[in-house]
Amino acid sequence: MLKQYSFEETAVQTFDDKTSLAMRTEDMQVFYGSNHAMFDANLAFPKNQITALIGASGSGKSTYLRSLNRMNDGIATVTGKIWYHGVNINEPGVNIYEIRRHIGMVFQRPNPFAKSIRENIVYALRANGIKKKAELEERIEQSLKGAALWDEVKDNLDKSALSLSGGQQQRLCIARSIAMAPDVLLLDEPCSALDPISTVKVEETLLELQKKYSIIIVTHNMQQASRISSQCAFFHLGHIMEYAPTGTMFSNPQIPVTQDYIAGSFG
């Protein structure tokens, strides 16, 4: 029998005006039809930091993350406000394509296009009007270097992306996202399909990337959260229970549900 925790008892940090934020949600609710999957989500993400979202399976991490760049459009109903550069992007009039170029996303399973490595990166760029060869080449190199893949593929850019290993494919997906020059990067369990060595590579990549991007990452792996993130939010049954600097969260969780989850004595 799952232990009952009060949803009233939460410990969610807020930031003062001096902290510059990458984005913020205010009273966000998500419904899948009549299924209320996300309740009053209030989270703020500091710029140029990695924020980890943790919690048990089905707690709503992906639901939350996918709402941030409006990938839930047409799948779920999202209410409340999502603030990004002073604009509430959860409005019908907002250009979602534009938003997604600024808020990139990497998925759980590597999903490179069935095209060459080069095409994986330039396809969306060209679709967005970047046509100059020199600029495209520059973006290919920069993004692949950013994703720590350049050395492995620089001689084979015309090879099929599907012939890469899982870890390389995932780094290609990261490269593809950062080639769009986003400023927020959302990652949904990007390492869950990878072996430990590839995982380390992706983690190193992310640590490097936070200098330029603000990163929000969903992970099941608490070691991973503590290795790479500065902030950490704990989700439970569609509620955000605790949000704190990662060090504090793991050494000194404030409320019983987080204490139990981190101690591994959950439910």
């Binding site: 990938m71 990139g104 998925f107 999903n111 069935a114 969306a124 679709a127 012939s163 769009m180």
Partner: protein, 295 residues
């Protein structure tokens, strides 16, 4: 009976069934080919038919078959591509979509002779187009559309959702994602389906008897202006196809060697259809390798 024994018996039974299917196919092919091929010659393939007796070559019919096929595909591929994309990507899961699906289902199960009669009454008689290539290809389109649409929808739906999400998450529009990401992946399957349906269209007779007609007026193969009545490209001339010719020679052929004629034409028809099947396979594989850049 123990599990191992049951397994063994089941395997044997299934093997026998498979073997008999393959056996029947090979017997059929061998029979048609041995009966027909000895009568096939270059002059038979290219020669003209005697309009009265049906004797002579099948040159015009062979051309008509390909021309009709081409026109049919030109009409039906774009329409079914649109319909397939709509059903796979845009159609909501509601009563209207299920109505469309049932309509497609019904259309695909209409007997071809009924489609032919409909085409006859509407195009040939009512619109006064007469027996013509165009009437025939519209009739064939009716019967080609549902199969192609279904094939295209299935090929598109088989592409993983994660590919669509990847496209959308990069800020591509739905349409751009569909055209640039999903369609190329689905293309090998779609092309295979198109070529296979081409084989079916090529061999169709019943829908054409009353639409494209049963006469193959001698055409002037030096005249390629589609507006000229004598041009082979004129879509308004009657055009007996190879399959219709076989039917006609057998039912009302007056030639003394009618049996040999139809056997030879059948062999040619079968070979063409086999080539379509083989081509579908090769082309599909080739495209798959091209599209995924896996050399």
């Amino acid at each position: 009976m123990n599990a191992k024994r049951t397994d063994f018996i089941a395997t044997v039974v299934i093997d026998l069934i498979v073997a008999s299917v393959v056996g029947i196919l090979f017997f059929l092919l061998a029979y048609i080919l041995t009966a027909g091929l000895p009568h096939v010659s270059w002059s038979f393939l290219t020669g003209a038919t005697d309009a009265f007796s049906g004797a002579g070559g099948i040159g015009v019919q062979l051309f008509n078959s390909f021309y009709l096929l081409l026109l049919t595909m030109l009409i039906s591929v774009p329409i079914s591509l649109g319909a397939g994309i709509y059903l796979a990507e845009y159609a909501k899961d509601n009563w209207r979509t299920s109505l469309i699906r049932s309509a497609i289902e019904v259309l695909s199960s209409l007997p071809s002779v009924v489609v032919g009669l409909f085409g006859f009454l509407l195009f040939v008689v009512k619109f006064k187009i007469g027996f013509s290539v165009i009437s025939g290809s519209i009739a064939l389109t009716f019967f080609n559309l549902p199969l192609l649409t279904r094939n295209i929808e299935e090929s598109l739906s088989a592409v993983s959702r994660s590919q669509r999400e990847a496209g959308l998450s990069l800020g591509l529009s739905k349409w751009k994602t569909e055209l640039g990401i999903i369609l190329p992946v689905a293309l090998p399957g779609i092309v295979t389906g198109i070529v296979l349906s081409a084989g079916r269209v090529f061999g169709e007779a019943a829908a054409l008897i009353y639409t494209a007609g049963q006469s193959a007026p001698v055409t002037n193969f030096a005249d390629w202006n589609p507006m000229d009545p004598a041009s082979p490209l004129n879509p308004f001339r009657p055009a007996e196809t190879l399959a219709v010719h076989i039917w006609k020679v057998n039912t009302e052929g007056l030639a003394s060697n009618a049996a040999a004629l139809s056997a030879a034409a059948s062999a040619v028809l079968i070979i063409a259809v086999l080539l379509f099947n083989l081509g579908a396979r090769l082309l599909g594989n080739y495209l798959y390798r091209r599209v995924t850049a896996s050399k």
